[in-house]
């Protein structure tokens, strides 16, 4: 069963599950159960590597942090999903996407599993540095860097699929373009003959507008994910502080990254 999950994940990563042609038919072959489970599994794997720092850097080792990070990192994905899913669904529906409620959920979980898979694939590098580093600021910056890569890939996947869907929505829309308007867009004489094949060309300006909305939405999603991570900290565990499941709610993610960056540069 697990093997079949990974085969599905492989297909997804290769982009075969979100081909423009199959999206155009309104088919979304993204399995909810396997991808949700894999997101948790792969997220937990990366989380464990994150929490490992508290085991290697402290005397005595703090195993609770290892457990906490293993649980909290997948939880980060789930919370981000809960907060962002409703607005994605509503925007998508308003913009004329053919995606129904469940299909939108499938798409978002697919983006999360892509994010988790890239993070897990970078985990060996994190583990290597964890074993050979005592500097807490360095580990924070490294984690931010690795998760920025994986987050960018996950959001890139989401963005690409949303664009394809938007394009597909227009391709499959009832042909509103008359031969005349197609001719106007194409500027060629023989356009009238195959006008029925290319009704997609007419409403291009609208497509661009919806892309901008998606862009803004993806940006919000990314910012929200970073801030959720901030609320759930500690993931790595400062060597100077006692173990706690959560810290006080104060400050924000970006300010903290800047502070740690300065701490790293000043030795």
């Amino acid at each position: 069963m697990a093997l079949a999950w990974f085969r599905d994940l492989d297909e997804l990563l290769r982009g075969r599950k979100t081909l423009p042609e199959s999206l155009a038919q309104g088919k979304i072959d993204l399995k909810l159960g396997p991808f949700a489970s894999l997101s948790i599994l792969l997220g937990a794997a990366y989380g464990a590597f994150m929490g490992l720092f508290s085991v290697t850097s402290r005397e005595p080792a703090v195993y609770q942090q290892l457990l906490a990070s293993t649980v909290k990192f997948p939880a980060l994905f789930i919370i981000t999903l809960i907060v962002t899913f409703p607005s994605l669904y509503v925007f998508n529906a308003l913009l004329g996407s053919r995606l129904r409620f469940l299909e939108t959920l499938r798409l978002l979980i697919a983006a999360i599993v892509v994010n988790a898979a890239v993070a897990a694939s970078l985990a060996p590098i994190l583990g290597f540095f964890t074993l050979s580093t005592t500097s807490y600021p360095f580990m924070i910056i490294l984690n931010v860097g690795l998760l920025a890569i994986s987050g960018a890939v996950g959001l890139g996947f989401l963005m690409q699929t949303l664009r394809r869907l938007a394009a597909a929505a227009y391709v499959t829309a009832p042909p509103v373009a008359t031969p005349m308007s197609t001719e106007y867009v194409n500027g060629s004489d023989d356009a009238g003959a195959d006008a029925s094949l290319r009704p997609a060309l007419a409403p291009l300006p609208d497509l661009r507008e919806s892309r901008n909305i998606f862009r803004i939405w993806v940006l919000i999603y990314g910012l929200l994910g970073a801030q959720t991570g901030w609320l759930l900290r500690p993931f790595i565990g400062s060597p100077d502080l006692e173990f706690t499941w959560f810290r006080h709610r104060e400050g924000n993610f970006f300010h903290s990254v800047w502070i740690h960056f300065q701490a790293l540069l000043s030795g």
Binding site: S121, L122, F138
Partner: protein, 221 residues
């Protein structure tokens, strides 16, 4: 033996089975075999600094073992991320060729290093200064790395022509590999062996972070 030399010659000239667009024609283990054959040569010479006591010979053996480890373990650590990112960018069908290109780059680095080994040994004859020895090795590694990059590009150019996205994964590989490789070289110390210290496989308390050390050097601590 003669066959091995002929293969190496083919590789350096990018001819025959080692022609850049001919990856399928050669067994996949040839390039790793080249890396394994040549890196210990330089390692042994690098560790031959101040051979005035018999026990310093051991440093040569240690360095000969650690040099292939440095390349091999770094590659293994970066491979999963490289694989997944290649897949996401839709380059999975070319992955075998990309892997061969990367191995070719390391084989190029290994052969160049080995060919520079005699210079290093000669340098050790002319100066006893430990710092100068370290700097000379750093210079040799820089030259060999540049040569390795050129070899890798020879193979990657074919891939980039096939799909320009390979340029992105190539850049990614270089960043990942350099980032991990620098730290790997740091924790696998000593390669040359400070004359004041006993010969050892690894430094005591070697598990520190190279980047933090560099920052501390600049900050003057």
């Amino acid at each position: 033996m003669l066959a091995a030399i002929r293969h190496t010659d083919d590789f350096l000239h990018a001819r025959g089975a080692f022609a850049p667009n001919f990856a399928a024609a050669r067994p996949a283990w040839w390039l790793p075999a080249i890396i394994l054959a040549f890196t210990p040569m330089y390692g042994a010479l690098m560790g031959s600094y101040q051979l005035d006591e018999p026990e310093r010979l051991l440093q040569g053996v240690y360095s000969a073992v650690k040099a292939p480890l440095l390349l091999g373990v770094t590659t293994l650590l970066c491979l999963p991320g490289f694989f997944v990112l290649n897949t996401v960018l839709g380059l999975r069908d070319d992955f075998r060729d990309a892997m061969q290109a990367i191995l070719a780059g390391q084989a190029g680095l290994a052969i160049t290093l080995a060919s520079l080994g005699p210079f290093t040994r000669f340098w050790y004859f002319t100066t006893e200064d430990y710092r100068a020895a370290l700097l000379f090795n750093a210079a040799m590694f820089t030259i060999a790395t540049a040569a390795g990059q050129l070899v890798m590009l020879r193979y990657y150019r074919v891939l980039i022509r096939r799909n320009p996205r390979h340029l992105a994964t190539l850049g990614l590989w270089m960043v990942l590999y350099a980032f991990v490789g620098i730290q790997m070289g740091w924790i696998l110390r000593p390669f040359v062996g400070s004359p004041g210290m006993p010969v050892s496989l690894f430094r005591e308390h070697a598990l520190t972070n190279a980047y933090v050390v560099i920052v501390e050097l600049f900050a003057g601590r």
